[in-house]
Structures are given as structure tokens and as C-alpha cells.
């Protein structure tokens, strides 16, 4: 498996990342990381290659994974090791003056020690201006699991600097579509947040749509057409056990979990028209939450798990609505254009994110729920399926770049970050998994 990292500074020296998503035969998918552009306010951080004692597993080094994680957030600009003046691995070796000279704000140093099947990491993060250590910890993992160890360190570093939990140990679910033997091949996949370690969880000749993570990150709900029509399944990832939870006449679609993982919002048209229901997963009992001749779909809980955002075309075209509690009278949120759909709540409750049509283009936009102010976040033009990271700082969506289907991550205020383009076929319906402590 190849992995290369290249840096292409733009005129303004901004950085962002492109993950080139390469489908390979078999169960694994492969990614190449490319950093091209990023946010203006990116904080300069140096991740110094870690000292090693004992045999380390082949593959990407822990420091290179940490560096890529921090860069992909769009909030950091990392210094390539070849530009470093020294390669310290502990406090006594850190000369702050050198790092100041290089314009660095933070420096991460560390070392890895192999003992048996495990590798222990000891790492320290320094604030260059204050000449202070702001983080010093050890962590260990099986030698076969260096990526998890690295993502853990990235999370700690990210949180120490920003005060917000990192999301590098979380997972993505997405669906790829290509063809095999002249037939469409849909594959539901789960990967690390950098696209690595992708695993196929379901493969079908019929469409798979709308994966949704349970709050504990152990199950996915999704829509599968494998029986010839849209049916909602819940899939336990550890065992592969699947159960059909909604198979009524008409649509069974748009599943969304409640915070306690015990119920799903869903769209059913069993009574003739797309309406939003809540299903208790223990009893399969349904509560109807909308009742309107229009299409009501794409329900999603707000940040507090109390109110529900959804798409309805009751005004004549699709718009975002909000009901303050299940079944309450909906309030229209979007007015800025004739097409706004697929709402996803931000993690802190200030914003709702959605697909927004402007002229002939479809962008991702957000509305400030207090002021009603709408901001278009993307420059791409056929955007779908926004999903907000559990820390609220990033958002992933599906789009098209020069005819290639890609997943793109942006910071939640719109700064560019990175893309995972499908080299063959399409990659779609990305959904960011929960923070699991």
C-alpha cells in the first residue's frame, strides 16, 4: 500500500488537504493524501518525528499520521520535517529560539518504545512563545494498531490547543457505487476519519442510502433496496447482524437515531404520502410526527435532542422546518432560495446545515438559528449530504469535482480542508460517526 504526502503551497501559503480515494480490489480501499489549500487562520504546529526504540511496524509513522490529522482539520499548518532545524524527542532537546525562528506556535515531540506486542508512546506538546509544556502523556497500543495510537495523540494535541475535543479517532460511514460484471455495485463502508482502514460492511446490486450512526457508534441504520424497494435496516457492526426495522408499503427511508439510541426518526409513506414518524426500537411502535399533504422527510434531531429539523415542500418547494418538540407546529427556517433540503443540526445548537440551491448550483449552507442569517459554505456546485463532525468544527459532504465524485471536508465556517475523491465510480452519503470515549 502506498502513501505519499505532498505539499503544494499556494500563493497565500494556505494549506488544505485532498485525500485521493483509490478503490482497490478486495476489502481494502486505499488513500493518498494531498495538501493543497487551507484556512487563513491556520496555527503553525511542528510534529517532530518520534524517536524509536525497538522494532516498529512497517507503514506510516505515528508522527506522520498525527501531522496529517492536524493538517486535515484546516486549523493547523504543519511544518515538513525536512525544514526543521533539529529533531528533539524530549524537553531537554527543545531549543525554543529555533522554533520561534521557524514561526512555529507549538511543537510536539515524543518517543516510541516497543515491548512485546505493544508500543508505548510518550509525548509532550510545547507552547513556543511561552516556552511551556502544555501536554505530557503516555499512551500504548498493540503494535498492529499504530494508526489508533496516532489518532489518539492527535485528539489530545487538538484538544490541548483548541479546547475542543478532537475527532480523529472517530469513524466515517459512506457508500460507494461502481460496477462489477456490468451490474451496479453499491458498497457501504466504514473507515477512519482520514479515509484509511476502509472496510466494506454491505455490498449490493441495489441502492444503499442514508447510513446513520447509532450514538454509541456500534450500529448503522440505513436504507437498502435489496428487496426491490426501500427498507430500513439496522446493522450491528461487530457481528454483522442485521435486522429489518421498517418494511411498510411505500417509502421506508431517512433513518435518524435519538440520543439514547432507542428510537429512530424515519420517513414512511404507508398512508399514501411521505410523513415523519418516530419508531421505538424495542416495541416497533410508531408515532406519527407530521401530517401534511406535502413531502415531509429527512428528519434530524437538534443538538439538545429535543426538537426536530426536517425538509418539507409544503410551501411549494423543499425548505427546512423545525418543530420544537416531536409533533409540535413546524416553523420554517429557510427563505433564501427555492430549494433547501437535508438539514443537519450543528453540535452546539447555533446552526443548521443543509443543501441550498443558488441559480443552477447546489451548495452546502448554514443558517444561524438566532439571527436567521444564511451563509453559503462551499464553492463546489453539486453538493449533497452534509454531515457535521461530533465536535462541530468540521463538516463532510459529497460533491463533484471536475466530473469526479468526491467526499470533501470543510471547517464548519467554510474554510477549505480536504477531499476523498473516488477514482472509479462514485462515493456518496458520508456520515460522521460519534465521539466514543
Amino acid at each position: 500500500m502506498t502513501q505519499r504526502i505532498w505539499y503544494k503551497p499556494s500563493k497565500t501559503l494556505l494549506t488544505a488537504i485532498t485525500l485521493v480515494f483509490v478503490m482497490v480490489t478486495g476489502v481494502r480501499a486505499e488513500l493518498l493524501i494531498r495538501i493543497t489549500e487551507g484556512a487563513d487562520s491556520a496555527i503553525p504546529v511542528s510534529v517532530v518525528p518520534f524517536a524509536e526504540s525497538g522494532q516498529m511496524p512497517a507503514g506510516d509513522t505515528v508522527a506522520s499520521i498525527v501531522q496529517a490529522d492536524l493538517a486535515m482539520s484546516g486549523e493547523f499548518r504543519t511544518l515538513p520535517p525536512e525544514k526543521m532545524l533539529s529533531l528533539p524527542s524530549r524537553r531537554e532537546e527543545v531549543y525554543f529560539r529555533d522554533w520561534r525562528l521557524l514561526g512555529q506556535r507549538y511543537v510536539l515531540v515524543g518517543s516510541l518504545t516497543r515491548s512485546g506486542d505493544r508500543v508505548q508512546a510518550r509525548y509532550e506538546l510545547f507552547d513556543v512563545n511561552r516556552e511551556e509544556r502544555i501536554l505530557g502523556e503516555t499512551a500504548a497500543a498493540p503494535a498492529s494498531n499504530m494508526r489508533s495510537l496516532a489518532h489518539h495523540i492527535s485528539d489530545k494535541v487538538y484538544e490541548s490547543i483548541t479546547g475542543v475535543p478532537g475527532v480523529f479517532s472517530t469513524q466515517l460511514a459512506f457508500v460507494t457505487l461502481d460496477s462489477a460484471n456490468g451490474k451496479p455495485r453499491y458498497r457501504l463502508q466504514v473507515s477512519d476519519v482520514d479515509g484509511k482502514r476502509a472496510r466494506i460492511r454491505l455490498e449490493s446490486q441495489e441502492p444503499i442510502l442514508s447510513p446513520a450512526w447509532s450514538p454509541d457508534g456500534k450500529r448503522l441504520a440505513y436504507v437498502s433496496f435489496e428487496t426491490g424497494k426501500p427498507v430500513i435496516f439496522v446493522h450491528e457492526l461487530a457481528t454483522g447482524k442485521r435486522s429489518k426495522v421498517a418494511d411498510f408499503p411505500g417509502l421506508n427511508s431517512a433513518p435518524a437515531w435519538s440520543d439514547d439510541g432507542r428510537s429512530l426518526l424515519m420517513t414512511l409513506s404507508k398512508d399514501g404520502n411521505a410523513e415523519i414518524y418516530r419508531m421505538d426500537l424495542d416495541t416497533s411502535q410508531l408515532t406519527k410526527l407530521t401530517n401534511h399533504w406535502a413531502i415531509d422527510t429527512e428528519a434530524n434531531w437538534d443538538a439538545r435532542g429535543e426538537g426536530i429539523f426536517f425538509t418539507s415542500d409544503r410551501s411549494g418547494g423543499p425548505q427546512i422546518y423545525y418543530m420544537a418538540e416531536p409533533g409540535a407546529e413546524p416553523r420554517r427556517i429557510t427563505f433564501g432560495s427555492r430549494y433547501n433540503a437535508r438539514p443537519r443540526a450543528g453540535s452546539k445548537g447555533e446552526f443548521v446545515y443543509y443543501v441550498h440551491q443558488r441559480g443552477s448550483a447546489f451548495h452546502i449552507a448554514r443558517t444561524d438559528l438566532e439571527t436567521g442569517e444564511e451563509t453559503i459554505l462551499t464553492r463546489t456546485e453539486s453538493d449533497e449530504s452534509p454531515s457535521v463532525a461530533p465536535n462541530g468544527r468540521m463538516l463532510i459532504y459529497a460533491t463533484d469535482q471536475n466530473g469526479t465524485s468526491v467526499l470533501t471536508v470543510i471547517s464548519s465556517d467554510g474554510g477549505a480542508a480536504y477531499s476523498l475523491p473516488g477514482s472509479e465510480g462514485e462515493v456518496r452519503d458520508p456520515v460522521w460517526g460519534p465521539l466514543v470515549r
Partner: protein, 189 residues
Amino acid sequence: MKFSAQSKAFALLLSVGLVAGCSSTGGPTEDGEYGSDVGAVDQEGGSTVYGGDDQGGVSSSAMTEEERMAAREQAEQAALREVTVFYFDFDTAEIKPEARDVLVAHARYLANNPGQNVRLEGHADERGSKEYNLALGERRANAVQRFLIVNGASRGQLETVSYGEEKPAVMGSSESAWAQNRRVELVFE
């Protein structure tokens, strides 16, 4: 290339009229795209006899004339029914005026053949959100279903399914591809 339901029906009527008039033994029309085999049309009309004699145009009795009208009517209806795909404007489920005659022909046929079932497959173009498009495809299929029922088909003959934007008829991201993908297909079972 895209033809409206109306222009397809018109082309078929032309070809049927032409062949009937010439008493051809039947065969594919010049445009194979429609798959319109006039032999099949004649079989459904239950008559392959007129032609050579009629070209004289003198000696048909009233009875023959009536039969002939009926046969022609049936041939026309069958030709209309060759069209099984109906197109929609962006984000609408409104049946276009030019689709109405064709759908009426389908409804009459279903009324006359109660054992015949049909699946109405609703589709949307790729733009916008997948789940909304799933509901939009269903709304389109439902609109066609209602139209067929109003015109004589019975609910039990009609099954609807929406594929949303998942099964485009034409790949690509152009106005023309989108127009061909916003559709309801009638699939006879």
C-alpha cells in the same frame, strides 16, 4: 436524443397508418428505437386482412367500415401504449398535457385487461438531496397512478416504487440527461 411522449406517439401513428394503408405484412418500423412492430399491432387489432382490397376504396360495406374504424382505433391505442415513459419538470409531479392521451390509452387497456398488472417506477434527477428525491419519485409515481385510476384502471393492478435519483436512464450532468431522468416508467408484469 430525447423525444417527448407526444412526438413518439405521433411517429408511431404515422408508421402504423402508413403500414396499414400499404397492407404490409408487418415488421419493425424504420426507427427501431421504439420497438414498434406493426405485426403485433395488427394482431391486437385482430385484423390483418385489409389492405390490397381497400386500396381500391370502393366496395366496402357499412359493416366493414365499422370494423375497420374499430381496428384503426385499436391500432392507434396500441401505438399510443408503446410509450411507457413519462417525463416531469424539475421538482414537480405534474403530468404533462402531451402525456395524457397515452396514459388514457394505458388506463383503458388496463380496464379491459383486469389480469394485467403494472409497476409504476418513479425517478428524479441527481440534483438536490437523495431522500427528498426518493419522496419526489414516489410523488410522481403516485400522480401517474391516480391518473390511471381516474381513467379506468383499478388500484389493485398498480404498484408504485420510487428509486429517487438512484437509477438514472441517462448518465451525465447535463440539462438533457436530467430531463430524461425525471420520469415515471410503466413496467408491465
